[in-house]
Amino acid sequence: MRPDQQGEAIFLLPDEKLAELLSAIKERGYQLIAPILRDAALCFSEIDGASELPQGLRDAQSPGSYRIKQTASPERFAHASGPTSLKRFLYPPRLKLWQTQRKANAMVFEEPADPPPRYAFIGPRPCDLQAVAIQDRVFLRSAHPDNDYRRRRENALFVAVNCLHPSESCFCSSMNSGPSAKSGFDILLTEQIESEELYYLVQTGTDEGLEILNTLKLKPAADSKKRKAATELKQATKKIERKLDPTGIGPALKERLDSPAWDELENRCLACGNCTLACPTCFCSTVEDHTDLAGEIATRDRVWDSCFQQSFSYVAGGPVRSTIKGRYRQWLTHKLSSWSDQFGTLGCVGCGRCITWCPVGIDLVAEANAICTERQSQNPTKTTIGVSP
């Protein structure tokens, strides 16, 4: 849904009423999670109400660099995605899966009984919503759905914000995930500023979103305001210079698994795993078992893992992917190629996090394009899927 589409109910929410919207959500039992300034970046964190939403913060992002700048503008969402994504909340970095205890001659298993948190995400971006849709496919549409993810996911409310200020790292327009949201939200805001007056155009995507909005008694937005927002969203799309061909890239990478072009990554990549951990769709985890000192109780935790750690592919005799280029190739080809064999879509939404948060500024888009185009002359001989150098 876009503000320029005809016949759709688009309401006007003045900034003064944003607090009312968030209180209405909170009263329904939700914990509010929004991007606020923490440790020099805009990170999704719990807030009490709209007054905690920062104003005038802009971000400058490029490969390996992120800086925040304070401006005099009252805007609250005039920035792109920060380092954290919704993955942290829906698929937490550490989760206790179960515990078992010796009782008489048996072992008794217990799963944590705590009720799942009810999160209302204020300000996720269109690419964030798309990332949740991708994780849904991974965790829910499988023979063994992830129960914890399902409970968190079913309980969550999404108040998304369209992107008028994409960063230099963004390429959602290539991945068809932004800068305007099409689905996956309960409520969708487009932040607008007109002669120093701050307001939001509001749309709803679900019955619950509509129910919440109805309590605010908002007026419909004037056509001129809708046109202004639509124009700005078009301009935002034009600002995005980073481009990737989402249909061509998968097959092209598959043909170049043995290309010498990967060699260069052996020297440049740290294999630090930051890209995978920052990525909102990467889903890999490991389990850690612990005992108490007496050996009476054992617990199993699930912990985020990354294909950049050698232990990730460790089998008897050593890691399958012992080289850094082998691990980089695993990451890049999984995100942009083999993910679609597994789940029917690519594993990338173009949020740019892996590009900004790579400590040495390795650019996934530039690498993928370079491997598939400029370095094409170094023709691969044959493909050996699944075998690492």
């Binding site: 923490r38 440790d39 020099a40 970046a41 990170c43 390996g64 660099s65 992120y66 800086r67 925040i68 380092p83 954290t84 942290r88 970095p93 550490r94 010796r102 008489a104 001659n105 020297n267 440049r268 990549c269 740290l270 294999a271 630090c272 795993g273 930051n274 951990l277 920052a278 490991t286 850690e288 078992d289 612990h290 005992t291 108490d292 000192l293 007496a294 050996g295 009476e296 912990v303 985020w304 893992d305 990354s306 750690q309 050698q310 232990s311 012992s322 850094i324 900004t356 948060w357 790579c358 400590p359 040495v360 500024g361």
Partner: protein
Amino acid sequence: MPFARPTKPKLAVWKFASCDGCQLSLLDCEDELLAVCEHITIANFPEASRARVDGPYDLSLVEGSITTPHDAERIHRIRRASKYLVSIGACATGGGIQALRNFQDVQEFVSVVYARPEYIQTLAKSTPIADHVYVDFELRGCPISKPQLLELVNSFLNKRPPNLPNRNVCAECKLRGNTCVMVAEGKPCLGPVTQGGCDAICPSFRRGCYGCFGPGEAPNIAALSARMSEHLGVDTSDLVRVYRTYNSAADPFRKESERHES
């Protein structure tokens, strides 16, 4: 039914060239220490008690590096008296700060510092325990992490492998939800090439990692140095020093620092 252990295993703590900080981590376990003592006999731990039980020992924790001919010989006696030997801390696993001598002429120091140099017996290099005897496990860090020490003792008591993953500091940093200080503040950080275990404590306080847990598995240190010099304003002489702190005798750090020495 309680899980019966036939006998209480004997734990010994040994000290070589070091500051005692890692041993103190064991005393620092305060709340957990009594529980640990219920399951294990502390047979040799001069920091805690003068009482000593003779060997052999089931588990020896060895702190400190080897810096004298006498210690080079003593560590073999300890190995022979120990079923399992675990070296603890940056001195025992990476040479410690005293390994800075490895890059200089120790005899010259001795002649300048001591009135009677002939009384001083010292080795040219400070070396980790694993350079001298077989080590069953290493606990990294300056000092070691208390939770890691407890996990080690716990796993030993329960006859299971210690659950101490060798992921790097970046992984722990991201798990904690920190904002990367290199990317957001342009501060040099050794997290990408450093073994985790500290729960990314320095980046959690907005400082770069100093590498006190030593090099991680197969680290690509040259790529990190390149980033630090090209983008973060670290000059060559600082690149020599940045890898020469607590673990300068650990090969990957030593080699990288030597590479920048002109």
